[in-house]
């Protein structure tokens, strides 16, 4: 088990360092996704499979897709086709692909282990997490729902205001 932990930790640290040191934002995002996946594998080893699933679905899925959308909206314009052609270079995929392959081999190795010696430490199932969420942490759940609503309204407002400005400018020009 320790070997798997060391491999995952090495992949996480390597991909994080590469993520913050790339000059191209899309390459950095690829390495950041690999880093999140390796941390999810460490969650799985620490006996938190529900947190590992959430890490893959929400962090590596939803939040990174938001980053990709913003990079797409920023880098559109003349010259973006050449940029896109440069990004399709297959040599750039080698680094993240090698790190992800290490992770998936490790995942299969962890899953093929027998269950008994793995559970000296109790695995915290999602049922216990749900009971704790809906019991003593009820106020926290309500507060996080308020926070998500505030985030939704804030993102909508910030994304909309520029269009209102341009419409007002158009009206004044036409008048």
């Amino acid at each position: 088990m320790m070997t798997f932990f060391y491999i995952s930790a090495a992949v996480a640290l390597t991909s994080s360092v590469l993520a913050i040191s790339r000059s191209n934002a899309v390459h950095a995002l690829l390495y950041a996704i690999v880093s999140l996946l390796s941390v999810a594998l460490i969650f799985f080893m620490l006996g938190a499979p529900f947190a590992a699933a959430l890490e893959v679905v929400i962090y590596a899925g939803a939040i990174m897709v938001l980053f990709v959308f913003v990079i797409m909206m920023i880098s559109s314009g003349p010259g973006s086709i050449q940029q896109e052609r440069r990004w399709m270079n297959f040599r750039l995929w080698i680094g993240p692909s090698v790190l992800s392959t290490v992770l998936i081999i490790e995942l299969f190795a962890v899953m093929s282990l027998p269950r008994e010696p793995l559970s000296a430490r109790p695995v915290i199932e999602s049922k216990q997490v749900g009971i704790a969420l809906m019991g003593p942490y009820m106020l926290g759940v309500e507060l996080s729902s308020l926070l998500l609503t505030a985030g939704l309204v804030g993102a909508y407002h910030l994304g909309k205001r520029k269009r209102d400005d341009s419409q007002m400018e158009d009206v004044t020009i036409h008048d």
Partner: protein, 102 residues
């Protein structure tokens, strides 16, 4: 077949947090700043999961879910601000955004 000690998870969380902090301090691109903040929040979640796994309680995962909610709200508002800033000053260099209106 030994278990992963919780201290190792905490040490890894500290190293990931240091990497994210170095990214925030070193980079000037706003998207990279947000990405480094994500790495730091992820390290905080790893610390909570490690501690919860050491004590065998579900509280660590509950706090991880709260961190996840906070990260989602933060990144949605932050990326909307990045788009707004890019429309105004046509760059993602955070040093360029050094003037206020009013």
């Amino acid at each position: 077949m030994t278990n992963v000690p919780a201290e190792y998870g905490l040490i890894l969380a500290a190293m990931l947090f240091a990497i994210g902090l170095a990214g925030v301090l070193a980079r000037r691109n706003i998207i990279f700043l947000l990405l480094s903040i994500e790495i730091m929040l992820n390290a905080a979640g790893l610390a909570f999961i490690s501690a919860g796994s050491k004590w065998g309680q579900a509280d660590g995962q509950v706090m991880f879910i709260f961190i996840l909610v906070m990260a989602a709200a933060e990144v949605s508002v932050g990326l909307a601000i990045v788009l707004q800033l890019f429309h105004r000053i046509r760059t993602v260099n955070s040093d360029e955004a050094n003037t206020m209106r009013g």
